[in-house]
């Protein structure tokens, strides 16, 4: 473990958690692209959410001003992150909570496992949380003989289906109602065998299935959407009420939070609570938001633990261009507008953070070499930047990270040669004339070797013109 060097920003360790895929994006995407059902499910879901989100954002006259404020608040937060975390720690502690610090996934998993063990529990209920997915908490709990129960509907679908999440907000976005029904019939104990695929019926089945768990489980694990340094207040934004169950019913609550989730002041919430639901689920406000500050005697958990997680975030902060990826509030608007995500789906990204934000966040958390294909998993169309409620310039970070990615040797040679040629107009003109020889590559370029055959597999090359523009100009 890398806890020897004080002051050296560190990436997330290998061998734990879910930030690294098993194969490069193009290979994983290739498989997803031929799955007609997946393509249909993703198209339907992303089209639906784009329409809903656009409509409720259109109701807000000061949307751009809110975005600008959010960006500034996050920029300010990152510039003062160490002090804000110390302030948060003091406020939470003063309110009766206990703060733990985890340098990486291994430490965080150990802290949570120890706390559950100390509470004498062999089962925990969980509110959907990206941070705990990132660190592989469920696997760590299971290894310690503790059963984690996911209570978010989509997480439950993923867990019962022995599947992997593919979206930040809706981890089961790749499943349609018919598939969800099949999963419930197969894996949900005591489910009504006459279950239909009506969404309301499926939701009711989840309600029955989890009720007893909510009432009898003594420890819950949550993430956090926001933590206010000034007051020590934590906020969880949700829809179903499973969050309220986990935050209210157990004796012990353990919240695992990425250190970038802190915001300086109570007032700052007025910005994010307007942006997040409209950008995320396309609602004016999500059904439930819970806020708590430490422990409230007689109401809710009487033991509260906050685990502050680094796991590569300090390395992201160290990159002046890339650090704005830490501004992300996990709304997933960038996924929903991304033409690459819509077609390839979330699993192709390998990491728990898919889509455009994942393509900039995962490589930075792990070091670009460990996720080298992700910065290229974008056509740089810019739809993500426009959709982002906190104005993260994802295309610019993608380009920036491409500059850090290891390059194939042949490509690097060709790029250097091209730059040299283009810096010498005479050579450049000669190369243009040579390009005309591309006719030799066969009709419409079909004889080209890899990687250029990637183009001609589905697209003709244009016929080279008889004369370049500069030749025409010279003769004019």
């Amino acid at each position: 473990m890398t806890r020897t060097f004080l002051g050296m920003p560190a990436t997330a360790p290998r061998g734990v958690g879910h930030l690294r895929g098993e194969e490069p994006f193009p290979a994983a995407a290739r498989r997803a692209l031929v799955d007609a059902q997946l393509r249909r499910n993703l198209r339907h879901a992303t089209t639906t959410i784009r329409g809903k989100s656009g409509a409720v954002i259109g109701e807000v006259p000061d949307w751009q001003e809110l975005r600008a404020a959010a960006r500034a608040i996050k920029t300010d937060t990152m510039a003062r992150l160490p002090e804000l975390l110390e302030q948060l720690e003091a406020a939470v502690t003063a309110a009766g909570g206990t703060v733990h610090w985890a340098a990486d996934a291994v430490e965080a998993n150990r802290i949570v496992t120890d706390l559950v063990g100390a509470a004498g529990a062999d089962r925990v209920m969980k509110v959907k949380s990206m941070a705990t997915q990132e660190i592989g908490l469920n696997e760590a709990l299971e290894a310690a003989g503790i059963e984690p129960v996911e209570t978010d509907l989509a997480e439950l679908i993923v867990q019962l289906g022995d599947d992997r999440p593919s979206h930040i907000l809706v981890p089961a976005i790749h499943r349609n109602r018919a598939e969800i029904r099949e999963i419930f019939l197969r894996a949900m104990p005591g489910v009504d065998p006459t279950l239909t695929d009506e969404p309301a019926v499926l939701a009711a089945a989840a309600r029955r299935h989890l009720r007893e768990t909510f009432l009898s489980t003594r420890v819950a694990v949550s993430g956090a959407n926001f933590a206010v340094a000034e007051t020590g207040t934590l906020a969880v934004v949700e829809s179903e009420g499973n969050g309220r169950m986990c935050l209210t019913l157990p004796e012990t609550l353990i919240t695992v939070m990425g250190i970038e989730k802190v915001v300086p002041t109570w007032r700052d919430l007025e910005v994010f609570l307007q942006l997040l639901p409209r950008a995320s689920t396309g609602e004016r406000m999500n059904p439930y938001t819970s806020m708590w500050t430490g422990v409230t005697p007689g109401d809710g958990p009487q033991a509260f633990h906050l685990v502050l997680l680094d796991n590569g975030r300090s390395a992201v902060l160290a990159d002046e261009v890339g650090r704005q990826a830490l501004h992300c509030i996990r709304c997933s608007a960038c996924l929903n507008v991304c033409p690459v995500y819509e077609r390839a789906g979330g699993h192709a990204y390998g990491s728990v953070y898919p889509g455009p934000i994942g393509a900039v966040l995962s490589p930075q958390l792990t070091g670009v070499a460990d996720n080298a294909s992700l910065p290229y998993a974008s056509s740089l169309c810019g739809a993500c930047y426009d959709a982002c409620p906190v104005m993260i310039d994802i295309p610019s970070i993608l380009v920036h990270l491409r500059g850090q990615a290891p390059h194939p040797r042949a490509e690097a040679t060709a790029m250097a040669a091209a730059a040299y040629t283009m810096d010498h107009p005479a050579l450049y003109a000669a190369a243009q004339r040579a390009a005309r020889l591309s006719r030799l590559a066969g009709p419409r370029g079909r004889g080209l070797p890899p990687p250029l055959s990637g183009w001609t597999a589905s697209r003709d090359l244009p016929e080279p013109p008889p004369q370049t523009f500069r030749e025409w100009w010279a003769q004019r």
Binding site: G7, T48, A69, L153, A206, R244, R267, M285, L308
Partner: protein, 200 residues
């Protein structure tokens, strides 16, 4: 060396010296106090998210509670105004009731701390007329009484009215999910029926 020291040291190193300048936050959006509360908008927004809205004068609350929950078991927070409850309901006062008992009740009646017109949201802050968080969570019907003077225009107004030092629950319609094909479906773990009585 503790993990705390490691992380704080890493972050300080990541930011380098000189530190990035603190950013000025442009708050050019509509701040608290921009607009007056619009009760009709609140009704529209609540209804849009499948809450049932009732409006009445102060004396009319009990009659509506009777219409919704008459003859049924209703959890009652300790500070609920007595005249809101009709004689027809079976009141179950929350004197630290066990969860199973709360879950077995048919409904709950509470006041609210604030309501947000623009988003159709009611806020509970755990005051005696609203009670512990658990009582508005387990019963399947939540009937919430909002006074007109508790309605504010927008989210910034609401945050300015409540204190972070009490547990806060923001409620916008009945329990719902968007997890199946990203369409909103009402009725998962929280109360499947939300009634809001606006007292003019």
């Amino acid at each position: 060396m503790t993990a705390r020291e490691v992380i704080l040291g890493r972050l300080r190193a990541a930011l380098g010296e000189p530190r990035p300048a603190p950013a000025e936050v442009p708050r050019d959006y509509r701040p608290a106090g921009t607009a007056a509360a619009d009760l009709d908008l609140l009704v529209d927004r609540l209804t849009d998210y499948r809450a049932t809205v009732h409006r009445c004068a102060g004396a009319g609350v009990a009659r509506i509670v009777d219409a919704v929950l008459g003859g049924r078991q209703v959890v009652v927070p300790p500070g609920l105004p007595g005249h809101w409850l009709p004689g027809t309901v079976v009141a179950v006062p929350d004197d630290d009731l066990p969860p199973e008992r709360i879950a077995a009740a048919d409904g709950v009646v509470t006041a609210a701390a604030v309501a947000v017109a623009e988003t159709g949201t009611i806020l509970l802050d755990g005051a005696p007329d609203q009670g512990r968080r658990i009582i508005t969570l387990l019963p399947d019907v939540h009937l919430c009484v909002v006074r007109a003077d508790q309605v504010v225009a927008a989210v910034p107004d609401a945050l300015a009215r409540v204190t972070p030092h009490r547990p806060l629950t923001w409620i916008s319609g009945p329990s719902a999910t968007s997890d199946i094909e990203l369409n909103r479906v009402e009725g998962v773990h929280g109360p499947r029926n939300l009634h809001v009585i606006i007292v003019d």
